[in-house]
C-alpha cells in the first residue's frame, strides 16, 4: 500500500487536463447522486443530533467563566489543560484503563469458552445459551440495583455465602480497594453472554472440510483450536475487542447507580467524571473539554480498528 500510493499520485495530478477532471468529477457525482440522496435523511438526523452536538461541545470547551457572576469568555485551551491537571480526571483515566483491560480480557475469554462449549446446537446447549444470554436482556440499571442487594455488606447474598469462609467480611462497594473489582464483576457478568453471540457466529464460518482434514491428519482438539479455529476467529476477536473497549468507556450506568464514583473516587470512570463536572460542578467548559479528550481517544481507537479490519480484508 505504502509503495503503491506515491506512484499513483503524480499520474493523477499531471496527466489529466483541468476540464477533464471537472467533467469526471461531475459525472462521478451524478453517478453517486442517488447514493447521496439515500444517505440524506440519515445525514440530516446525524447532523442534528450527533455532529451538531459535537460542534457545540467543541465551542463550549473553549469558553469559561472566571467567577460565578462573570460572563463566559474565550479561554482557548485553558479548559483542556485544567482537565489534564485535575487529579480526579487522571484518577478516572487510570481507573478506566484498569477497568477496560480487566473487563475486556475476562469477558472475551469467557465468551470464547462458552461459544466453544456450546457451538453444537442441541436442546441442552440451546438452554444454556439462553441462560448465558439472559444478563444481556436485563438493563444495566436494573442489574445494578439487583447487585446492590447482592453486595450488601454483612447481610447481602454474597456475604451470606462467603461469610462462612472468611473471618472478616469485605465491604464490597464501601472499600476503595475492592469497589472497582465489584463493578468489573458486574460488567463481565453482563457482557460475556453478548460477546458469546459473536463468537458463535464466528464459529459457524470455520470451514467444515478443513476441520475434517485436520481431524483425519490426527490433529488433537488443542491443535485444531490453536491452528484452525483461533486464526479463523481473528476478525471476530478484533470486532469484539473494539465493542468491549467502547463499552468500557460508554457504559457507566452501574457506577451511577451503585457507587457514584466512590468511595473516594475509586470507581470514578471518565464518563462519570464528565457527568460530575457538568452537573455537580456546573462547569460546562471543563465537562466539554473532558468530552473532547474522550471523543478524540474513541475516534483514534475506531480509526485504528477500521484500518486493521480494512488491511485484513485487503490482504485476504
Amino acid at each position: 500500500m505504502s509503495l503503491a500510493e506515491p506512484a499513483a499520485l503524480p499520474v493523477a495530478t499531471s496527466a489529466a487536463p483541468r476540464p477533464q477532471v471537472l467533467k469526471r468529477l461531475t459525472s462521478s457525482f451524478k453517478a453517486s447522486l442517488p447514493a447521496y440522496l439515500l444517505l440524506l435523511p440519515s445525514l440530516v438526523f446525524l447532523a442534528l443530533f450527533t455532529y451538531g452536538a459535537m460542534g457545540r461541545v467543541l465551542i463550549d470547551a473553549l469558553y469559561q467563566r472566571t467567577t460565578p457572576k462573570a460572563p463566559v469568555r474565550f479561554v482557548g485551551l485553558d479548559n483542556i489543560s485544567a482537565v489534564l491537571a485535575d487529579p480526579a480526571f487522571t484518577g478516572a483515566v487510570v481507573n478506566n484503563l484498569i477497568y477496560a483491560v480487566a473487563t475486556t480480557i475476562p469477558s472475551i475469554a469467557l465468551a470464547l469458552l462458552f461459544a466453544l462449549a456450546l457451538s453444537r446446537t442441541h436442546a441442552v446447549s440451546s438452554a444454556l445459551r439462553a441462560a448465558l444470554f439472559l444478563p444481556v436482556l436485563i438493563p444495566m440499571v436494573a442489574a445494578s440495583a439487583l447487585f446492590l442487594f447482592i453486595f450488601l455488606p454483612n447481610v447481602g447474598l454474597l456475604d451470606y455465602y462467603i461469610g462462612r469462609l472468611l473471618p472478616v467480611l469485605p465491604n464490597w462497594l464501601g472499600d476503595p480497594d475492592i469497589a472497582l473489582t465489584a463493578i468489573m464483576i458486574i460488567t463481565v457478568w453482563k457482557n460475556a453472554g453478548y460477546y458469546m453471540l459473536f463468537f458463535l457466529a464466528g464459529l459457524q464460518a470455520v470451514p467444515e472440510d478443513v476441520m475434517e482434514a485436520a481431524h483425519l491428519d490426527g490433529a488433537g482438539p488443542y491443535r485444531r483450536l490453536r491452528h484452525i479455529i483461533l486464526p479463523e476467529l481473528k476478525p471476530t476477536f478484533l470486532f469484539v475487542t473494539v465493542i468491549a473497549m467502547l463499552n468500557a468507556v460508554t457504559q457507566v450506568d452501574h457506577v451511577f447507580v451503585m457507587t457514584q464514583g466512590g468511595p473516594s473516587n475509586s470507581t470514578n470512570l471518565v464518563l462519570f467524571y464528565i457527568y460530575q463536572q457538568a452537573v455537580e460542578h456546573y462547569d460546562i467548559g471543563k465537562a466539554s473539554a473532558a468530552t473532547l479528550l474522550t471523543l478524540a481517544v474513541l475516534m483514534g481507537l475506531t480509526a485504528l480498528s477500521f484500518r486493521t479490519l480494512a488491511n485484513r480484508e485487503g490482504g485476504a
Binding site: 439515500l38 457572576k69 472478616v168 464501601g174 464514583g261 473516594s264 460542578h281 456546573y282
Partner: protein, 443 residues
C-alpha cells in the same frame, strides 16, 4: 426513494400532531403549569403526589397543574437547570433545601418577596408559619427564595429487644457520646474475631455522609459551614476533628461499627435484619422502619458531646427564574395550597417527613395520628435544636471533598487530622472563584 418518502410521510404526521397539540395551549382557559417533583425515598410518594395535584386541580378551576416526576434530588436539579437553559422553566419545583443558595448565586431563582407582599402579608408573617429551624435554608440575603415543603432530621434508632437482651433500658436511650459508645460496646456481639452483630451503623455515601458529618460536628459544638455566607466551610476545626475521630474510634478502637463506607439503604437493611443494633438515619426512614421491623424499636435524639444540635434535611418549593407573570402567579397559588396546614399534615402522614407548617400539628387528623404513632413526634421535638443544612457556593462538590476524605478514614487509609486538612484545602480551592467575587473583592 422509499426511505425518504416514508420519512416525508412521518414528518408530515409529526407536523400535524405538533400542530394539533399547540392549538389548545394557545386557547383561553386555565393557566397550565408544571411542578417538578423528586422521589428521594420510596416509590409510593409518586402516587401520593398524583392524589395531591388532582385535588388541587379540582378545587382551582383557573389553574391546571401537572406533576412531573424528575428522579432523585440531584436529577431534579439537573432537569430544572436544563429546562431553565432551554427557556422553558417549570413553574414550581420541589428542590433539595441545600441547593437553593447555589441556585440563587447562579440567578436561577425567583425572589418570592414581591409575591408575599402582593398577598398583603409580610416576610415575617409568612415565614412565621414554619418551624424556625427551616428559615435558614429558605432565606438568602434577607429575601425569601423557598417555601419549606417536607423536612427531616437525623435520629438515633434503637432495636429495643436487643437492648433489653444486653441489659440496657430502651426507655432511657443514650444521651451523650459516652453513653452511646458504652451502649454500642454492649450491643456488639463477637464470635472469635468475627462480629455477628454491630453495636451501631452510621451511613456514609455521597450526600448522606456530608449530612452525618454535619450532624456529628454540630453535636460536638461545631458549625460545618458559615450560615451567613456561602464562601466558607469549617472542616479543619477542633469540633469536626473530634467528630471524625469519634466515628473513627467507633470503627477501629472500639470496633463496634463496621469498617468502610456504607450507604443509607444498606444501613437500614442491616438494622431491619438485626445485624446492627442501633443506627443513625433520617426521620424520612421512619415509615420504612415502622412497616418492616419485626422487633420493638425506639427512636431518640442524636446524642451530644458538647450540645444537642442537628441539621435539617428535606426539600423546599421554589419558583425558577424567567417565568411569565401569569405562570408565576399560578405557581404561587399552588405553593401556598401545598404548604397549608391541612395539606402539609396530609403529606407528612403519607411520607414520614415532618410537616414544616407548625399549624399542621394542631389539625385534628395530626393530633390523632401522633396519638397512634408517638415515635413520629421525636423528630418534631428535636426541631427545637435543629439548625440549617449546609449550603455553599457549589454545595455538592464542596461536600464531596469532605466525603471522599471521610471514606478514606472509615477504610483505615488516613488519619482524621490529615484527612480534614486535605478536605479543607480542596474545598477552599472550589470556593475560590466565589470568594474572589465577594469576600476578597476589595475596593
Amino acid at each position: 426513494m422509499l426511505f425518504s418518502r416514508r420519512l416525508m410521510l412521518s414528518l408530515a404526521i409529526a407536523g400535524t400532531m405538533a400542530g394539533s397539540l399547540a392549538v389548545p395551549a394557545k386557547a383561553e382557559g386555565p393557566t397550565e403549569i408544571d411542578l417538578f417533583f423528586p422521589v428521594p425515598v420510596d416509590g409510593k410518594l409518586a402516587r401520593d403526589m398524583g392524589t395531591l395535584i388532582k385535588e388541587f386541580n379540582e378545587t382551582h378551576r383557573d389553574v391546571k397543574a401537572t406533576a412531573v416526576y424528575t428522579g432523585s434530588y440531584d436529577d431534579t436539579l439537573i432537569k430544572t437547570r436544563a429546562a431553565i437553559k432551554a427557556g422553558k422553566p417549570p413553574a414550581a419545583v420541589i428542590m433539595s433545601a441545600n441547593f437553593l443558595l447555589d441556585m440563587q448565586i447562579e440567578n436561577e431563582l425567583t425572589n418570592l418577596d414581591s409575591l408575599i407582599a402582593a398577598d398583603g402579608s409580610t416576610k415575617e408573617k409568612f415565614l412565621g408559619q414554619f418551624f424556625p429551624a427551616l428559615h435558614g435554608n429558605a432565606v438568602i440575603n434577607r429575601s425569601v427564595y423557598g417555601v419549606p415543603f417536607h423536612n427531616s432530621t437525623p435520629l438515633l434508632y434503637i432495636n429495643a429487644d436487643k437492648a433489653k437482651e444486653a441489659g440496657l433500658d430502651p426507655s432511657k436511650p443514650p444521651q451523650t457520646w459516652a453513653e452511646l459508645t458504652d451502649w454500642a460496646k454492649k450491643l456488639t456481639k463477637r464470635d472469635g474475631d468475627k462480629v455477628t452483630q454491630w453495636g451501631i451503623a452510621i451511613p456514609c455515601a455521597y450526600d448522606y455522609c456530608g449530612w452525618m458529618m454535619e450532624t456529628l460536628t454540630m453535636s460536638n459544638g461545631g458549625r460545618y459551614y458559615n450560615e451567613e455566607f456561602g464562601g466558607e466551610v469549617y472542616y479543619d476545626t477542633p469540633s469536626m476533628l473530634g467528630a471524625l475521630t469519634w466515628w473513627n474510634d467507633l470503627v477501629y478502637k472500639h470496633k463496634v461499627h463496621a469498617p468502610g463506607a456504607t450507604p443509607g439503604p444498606a444501613v437500614s437493611t442491616s438494622f431491619i435484619s438485626g445485624n446492627a443494633a442501633m443506627m443513625m438515619l433520617s426521620t424520612g426512614s421512619l415509615t420504612y422502619v415502622r412497616d418492616n421491623a419485626k422487633f420493638a424499636y425506639k427512636v431518640a435524639f442524636i446524642p451530644r458531646n458538647v450540645r444537642n444540635a442537628v441539621p435539617i434535611g428535606g426539600a423546599s418549593l421554589i419558583v425558577p427564574a424567567g417565568l411569565e407573570a401569569d405562570k408565576q402567579k399560578a405557581a404561587w397559588t399552588l405553593i401556598k395550597w401545598m404548604t397549608s396546614p391541612e395539606k402539609s399534615g396530609w403529606w407528612s402522614r403519607a411520607t414520614g417527613y415532618f410537616a414544616p407548617n407548625m399549624a399542621a400539628y394542631k389539625t385534628p387528623e395530626m393530633v390523632d395520628f401522633l396519638g397512634k404513632n408517638p415515635d413520629a413526634k421525636t423528630a418534631v421535638d428535636q426541631l427545637d435544636v435543629a439548625k440549617p443544612w449546609f449550603a455553599t457556593y457549589k454545595t455538592v462538590p464542596v461536600r464531596k471533598t469532605l466525603e471522599d476524605e471521610v471514606m478514606l478514614v472509615l477504610n483505615g487509609k488516613k488519619q482524621p487530622k490529615e484527612a480534614l486538612a486535605a478536605a479543607q484545602k480542596a474545598a477552599d480551592e472550589t470556593l475560590k472563584p466565589y470568594n474572589a467575587e465577594t469576600s476578597l473583592k476589595l475596593p
